[in-house]
Subunit: 675 residues, 2 copies
């Protein structure tokens, strides 16, 4: 039983840490080099050097910034609805946000992993994780779209995710919040130690399509997994996870999960796990989880509920999982470019331990254990330690690496970044951050070949750094030049929502393959309208389908009659443009829906259920041309039982009069007599 | 009747205009001054000089940028749900998006007006308009929150909005899409000329509270209103509106609304309208529209449905409304700082007409009419014209003014800005924009005392200006130095969604009154929990209220049991912090809901309806402290009919054991025995 004294001293430590969290390091206001302005200025029309993919944290979105300018290029919706372009609102995209508990409009997107081949960025995909509804998403770097979301069963708080293996063989997700899983889930919370379990999911990534599927899950004790990294080179077969709450507290974790001197880095031999899975050592558990896939040809997502998952229990799989003791609630768990060193950043620790993979292998071979934790061997700290970085600062969180053998660790509490040499653990430089840095990102930092040059700090507190915006302030990033011996602050730029973590790659890796339009001839959407002459309105019971086209500067049809209260109207809009950067938008008055934004060659559908008679204007919502303002039309809705015939037209005097003279070009107005 | 030839020639013109829309002006790639980098660089920790309030167009949000850096300081949700902070998802904010047709999660936010006193910015409020569901919103510049949204009945496409009078006496909204209004709304679309009407709503603004109410609406012919501006000084009593589609076409407006050589600027004497309203010349129409108000003390919005509006018909109100002919589908309608000149920008016109207010008054007095339009007098063009700016460029859209008597007009089709002198209409300078500029914004440009110095172009097409992001690209702004004789391009910065229009003011006008926290003692939320000792969970039938507190780094209570499937659980979270920039977030696994983000001293509520038994983790979603990661808890949900008692605690071994020893500070854990 923990003594009251220990708890009190932890609480005091917490108090001290909190009091210090927003203190500004001394001398911090030193003048920034006048060169900084030039260094970050990207002249009008010139491209940034790096794409920076920044997690949006509690906005559920991924942000794309340009570096060194710090300009926000685009917000990409992933786990949250996005009224701006209809993501989660169009009929085609709703399925992307389906889960085992139905439609979820939001998530907490924490980390990003850019796909790698042989440990280097290959510019194919970016993976992100949803924490609250445990999910992993894959976006394509050619079209910048969320292409796939897979839910993780037997999990809660998918925080330690979506880290990848060296060739993107797997992307992982592990539980931050252990929960009871399996048959018996309605249990008292204070039976945590008996009933709550963690899992690590290994999600296989198809090397050609990127398609994900859960290969297996590994059952773990009910501790909290925080961050993770896959091995490299010699440690290729291994994956490392930081763990806190090895106390397995279920209440007031602030105190109760900060009691022990050491928690763990968990090391998993995933190659061995693969073998066990193949050898039938796992059990198929009945579960239910959603696998949502966006089809680029039909422009439509589907959601499939999967009912089984393979679970490996370390009890049945020896030599698959080990624990390395790591001081006080580690956050970061980072593997250096060589794959030899694993850095654990204990956020309440006074030193940064660096573990040696070679020593770990030796210790395992020698069974140099200090005991077991829930049946899993715990290696001796001294046996696996390369060494400790002494007095690095307060609250070490996360470490990345440059191409010269140096490491950079963020210090949340003392608001600074510390640069140290991996080989001899010597501190080389330190620089303040404003304020309370969480993650940092060195260009290429998590890969086998870091690019170096720039580093970005992602800070939690901004307070007095920008013009104030009421009680709710932006969080912030700071760009540093790390090309020389000393780190130099170049730029502060505010970010959207919470810039939890980010990964950047050279623009050259993806610019050339950028998708500009969807080819209309490849559009396989079942309701696509590939020419104005094909536009039509059909009725099937009380379902009305509008096959509509958009091209500068009109919608076809733009006069529709014969819809009645009680009908469900589906506007299937095909953008006939085939030029880059000519989207059209579509909205109709009184829809309890967002707009849809349709890219050239694409088809998207907006559902509308009119609730009373009247004339409902619709229009293009994206300023597309000099006559954009004229790109509008009208839907007439009549009462239930009305005998107004279904009719539609463009450029006719009367929607139901198909023979009337047309003001439009006769060949392409596409007005057809109603059925 | 319009001849086919005329229509054809319009179509050809359109084709030419479209073909030219993205052409890059020659010599445009000229080197930007090396001084530009320094001019836009705001060193880390320094403030921008101007707040720039930029409409988000089809994202329904308002963006706050800093100038000259072009940094996005914050996105403020107005007409669209915002999963990031729970706007539209929390129980408190849902009512803000209510309308006469129920909850609408999205709108198209086009324009902004910063409140003025005596024609100068007073730094109190910013007004914005929703186009699709006709609405006007008011945000407070002390807390940067949407405080009020009022729907406009008898309207559709509230585009010509939210322009204000000189002392913010009124904010206006007028119909872009005329529709049938009143009793008879189910009519054939081709009876447009007989049955479709426009309206202009004059919304009174309370000078102390800012509270809005619709004073009266003015009935107009069924034409499309585009933009507007209130008068100044001598024209103080007047309001001016650009009108297109005076052809009153109801289909293929691209062609059919571009037929006439002239449309109109409509001039309304609002002082006279006020008198008519007072004198009982209006009629009260039965309508239904929502008035949504956010209460800063209860942190809660209410929506009231209003059932009547006063309508003035110009037929009954002589000398209230006049038309001035204006060439070809005017977009911009802008009043210079003196109030004497009204600039109409006909987007298909070859010249920019500048009208004289003095001449207009004289022409009215002399009844110098060329006829009437739907009973409203049309003044003679030559009688009201100050003069025309000749050969300004192609596609003039919108004009603003500096402090030196100059005007700046955006040219959509020829992608440029033209600077000209108001007095003699002489063109002084022109500068390219990249590409297809819509609105522009001169600092203080719409006021009586422009600040000048900077101008921003808001462009529709970006194409090759930034690193590509797939088919969907950011739209863009460009910052120009206008302090000298020649305009100088300084910076390109991408924007979120559609930067339709913007207005900027000096930071000094609002920085000092910025609200940093909500004082806990002023929190009048009915479910506020003003101390951990007051935290509790109560049940009323199948409604469970959780009175929860958040303070670094725990939630109280953090263990809750006794909730059953079928219950509706309301988490009322009070953030007990009283320091700036310490929000807490809250989310619970499997909620079909967004998170809530709670500012210091605030209470917000997340509703959750668990659908099956289990343990549901909840946690703080905003990285608040070194022990943020430990800020979590558990809700146990039991099956229907379960006899698990309602219990809650923090730091106890057992939620239902209130007498157990506590690991937390005994005075503030607030655990209470369950009822």
């Amino acid at each position: 039983m923990k003594s009251y004294l220990v708890l009190l001293s932890c609480a005091s430590l917490t108090f001290i840490l909190l009091s210090m969290q927003s203190c500004q390091p001394k001398g911090a206001s030193a003048a920034v080099s006048s060169e900084a302005a030039k260094a970050v200025y990207v002249p009008p029309g010139k491209y940034d050097e790096y794409y920076d993919f920044v997690s949006g944290g509690f906005n559920g979105q991924l942000s794309v910034y340009g570096l060194p300018s710090g300009r926000l290029l685009k917000i990409l919706p992933v786990f949250s609805v996005f009224p701006e372009n209809g993501y989660g609102y169009s009929e085609e995209t709703k399925a992307m946000l389906n889960s085992s508990h139905g439609f979820v409009p939001w998530d907490d997107l924490h980390h990003v992993s850019l796909s790698t081949t042989n440990g280097e960025h290959d510019g194919r995909w970016v993976f992100t994780n949803g924490v609250n509804t445990p999910r992993i998403a894959r976006l394509d770097l050619a079209n910048f779209k969320t292409m796939e979301i897979i839910e993780l069963p037997n999990s809660a708080g998918n925080h330690s995710s979506p880290y990848i293996t060296e060739n993107t063989e797997y992307v992982v997700g592990s539980t931050r919040f252990s929960v009871p899983i399996g048959d018996k889930v309605d249990v008292p919370i204070n039976t945590y130690k008996q009933n709550f379990k963690g899992t690590v999911s290994f999600v296989k990534v198809d090397p050609n399509s990127g398609r994900m599927n859960i290969a297996f899950q590994i059952l773990t004790p009910g501790i909290d997994f925080d961050l993770a990294r896959g091995g490299k080179n010699k440690s290729h077969d291994w994956f490392f996870f930081s763990c806190y709450n090895s106390e397995r507290a279920n209440t007031l974790l602030e105190v109760n999960a900060s009691a022990k001197d050491k928690d763990f880095i968990m090391a998993i031999n995933w190659k061995k796990a693969e073998e066990y899975a193949k050898a039938g050592k796992g059990k198929n558990w009945p579960v239910s989880y959603a696998h949502n896939i966006y089809d680029e040809k039909t422009h439509t997502a589907t959601s499939t509920m999967i009912k089984e998952v393979l679970v490996l229990d370390p009890k049945d799989c020896p030599d698959m999982v080990y624990f390395m003791p790591c001081p006080k609630s580690p956050h970061g768990c980072d593997v250096d470019p060589s794959g030899e060193y694993i850095v654990g950043s204990g956020k309440l620790a006074a030193a940064i331990p660096v573990f040696s993979f070679t020593k770990m292998e030796q210790a395992i071979a020698a069974k140099n254990f200090e005991g077991t934790f829930e049946g899993i061997p715990v290696l001796k700290y001294d046996a696996v330690l390369h060494g400790e970085v002494q007095k690095p600062g307060l609250g070490p969180l996360h470490t990345e690496f440059d191409e010269k053998g140096n490491a950079y660790t963020s210090m949340f509490v003392s608001s600074e970044i510390v640069k140290w040499r991996v080989k001899d653990l010597k501190i080389l430089d330190r620089v303040p951050t404003y304020y309370s840095i969480g993650h940092l990102s060195v260009m290429g930092g998590p890969t086998k070949k870091p690019y170096g040059k720039y580093m970005v700090a992602y800070n939690k507190i901004t307070k007095d750094r920008y013009l104030p915006t009421g009680p709710e302030l932006a969080q912030s990033a700071q760009l540093y030049d790390i090309s020389g011996d000393k780190m130099k602050l170049l730029l502060d730029f505010p970010t959207v929502a919470e810039p939890h973590y980010a990964e950047a790659l050279p623009a050259s890796l993806i610019v050339k393959k950028n998708v500009k339009i969807y080819k209309i001839e490849e559009n396989a959407h079942p309701y696509a309208t590939k020419g104005e002459g094909l536009a039509k309105v059909t009725r099937n019971g009380n379902i009305v389908h509008v096959y509509m086209t958009a091209i500068r500067s009109h919608l076809t049809p733009d006069n529709i009659e014969g819809v009645k209260v009680g009908d469900s109207v589906y506007f299937h809009l095909t953008n006939l443009e085939q030029d880059w950067d000519v989207p059209h938008g579509f909205a109709i008055k009184h829809a309890n829906n967002a707009e849809i934004l349709i890219m050239p060659g694409e088809t998207q559908t907006l559902a509308f259920k009119p609730d009373r008679p009247g004339i409902y204007p619709f229009y293009c919502t994206d300023f597309c041309s000099a006559l954009h303002q004229e790109m509008q039309g009208y839907l007439r809705v009549s009462p239930v039982g009305s005998n107004v015939p279904l009719a539609f037209s463009t450029g006719k005097k009367n929607p139901s009069d198909s023979a009337a003279a047309s003001g439009a070009k006769p060949t392409d107005t596409g007005a057809k007599p109603s059925r």
